[in-house]
Chain length 236, copies 2
DNA sequence: CAGTGGTCTAGACCACAAC
DNA sequence: TTGTGGTCTAGACCACTGG
């Protein structure tokens, strides 16, 4: 059989779209057991490789459960997967058109409070760098950052002034990470948030708390407090 | 050449891990231009197909920029991608071991307030179903849900009492969705949140706001207010 | 125009899991 | 034991994009 032109062949994206359509509109309602890859490849007129790619993509989108021997089944309810791209503050601010400004508010080598030590899994006597800084969008405070860095795992941090380079940018350039845990929460503005973000104390503040590890060593724990009215949004 | 056993062959996962290692530890620092796929396949001792799969996976993780002609380059800072699986309340509560209980607080056909209409893109005279309900984990309120459903797009909703079936479960079983927009934010507890979630009015409440469309028709807009101390967490 | 990634194919062996 | 998805290979054409 003559090779078809690539533009005429069925692509995995088209097949994926058709499968999704059949799941949402069509005959493949929730719970349906789909035909095997070999058979579907025949009916779609493509190779099994392509069929597999399309099915994997649909499964990645959360519509399908795939298991060997059992086959491919349409999930009863699609997984609701939200993908948030956590941007660097600088990028987020500059993307909005405002000039970015960084201000270091506090820098100390100190013993971390108990909840920080517990969360990072470090000893009570661990030397920690504690940083507080504010990221401005033009004249307005955008985000306040309260960060602890494990100086035991990263002695270099003690030599950094962080007067100009932000902790995040320095960390990204200096250490990789293998594990990240991110939480989103709402907390009440404390005195620092009131002072640096212009909140009234007790007001709700959208907060991101993020801890990172590298090879089982805690590197940093940071709380990011956002300005009033901030929302983190994604579409899909 | 004799076929090797599959268990002896290099897998795309191993190659992916090695590439990530070289990016984080190794010689391939930020900004490095990687060799082409053909050459890398040679050095890794695999087919180009496998090499491509490994590189695509690394790129999906946010480490690489890939463009035709230009080649594959290590990103200056890795994209920070957080994937949140938004669970259904019932699953989330039952996973914690507590019994799930659902209570409908309010059900009315009404005109939506302006901000709701704006966000959903519906006319001022659109018939909307307004529902308020509370999801309990055992004795304790877990989440309050304030939902608007576009009865114009979904007349069936008018026949539903929602006394037993939750709006979310009914919607999932009834309509698919093509577009979802999710926001996370912190807002202050209002009277309803105080009453149903046990908050003090004005206290911070972690809130998820989600709007869904189906073929350019707004289906539903929902605000989910979580109990005190809730955090949405992910690891990777 | 030419180089690089994007994708398709046909065939093969394998791992997992239900039986 | 057997059926299903997971993956690898070798070869091919194509699409995008920088020069």
């Amino acid at each position: 059989m003559t090779q078809m032109k690539a533009s005429d062949r069925t692509t995995w994206r088209e097949i994926m779209a058709e499968i999704v359509r059949r799941i949402t509109d069509g005959p493949w309602g929730p719970g349906t057991l789909l035909p095997g890859e070999v058979e579907m490849a025949r009916t779609f007129g493509c190779s099994r490789t392509t069929m597999n790619r399309a099915l994997r993509a649909v499964a990645d989108q959360g519509y399908l459960d795939r298991r060997r021997k059992t086959g491919t089944r349409v999930r009863l309810s699609p997984r609701r997967l939200a993908r948030f791209e956590i941007p660097m503050v600088r990028d987020e601010i500059e993307a909005s058109g405002a000039p970015y400004r960084y201000a270091l508010v506090q820098r100390e080598v100190a013993v971390a409070p108990k909840w920080v030590r517990a969360r990072m899994g470090v000893e009570a006597d661990a030397r920690m760098m504690h940083l507080v800084c504010v990221h401005h969008a033009g004249d307005r405070p955008f985000q306040m950052e309260d960060r602890w860095i494990n100086a035991g795992a990263l002695p270099l941090v003690l030599e950094q002034s962080f007067a100009v380079v932000t902790p995040n940018e320095w960390l990204i350039a200096t250490v990789p990470f293998s594990q990240v845990e991110i939480s989103f929460l709402a907390c009440a503005a404390d005195a620092a948030a009131a002072e640096h973000l212009g909140h009234v104390a007790g007001e709700p503040v959208f907060t991101v708390e993020s801890a990172t590890w590298w090879q089982d060593q805690a590197i940093t724990l940071v709380s990011l407090f956002y300005h009033k009215g901030y929302r983190m949004t994604t579409r899909y």
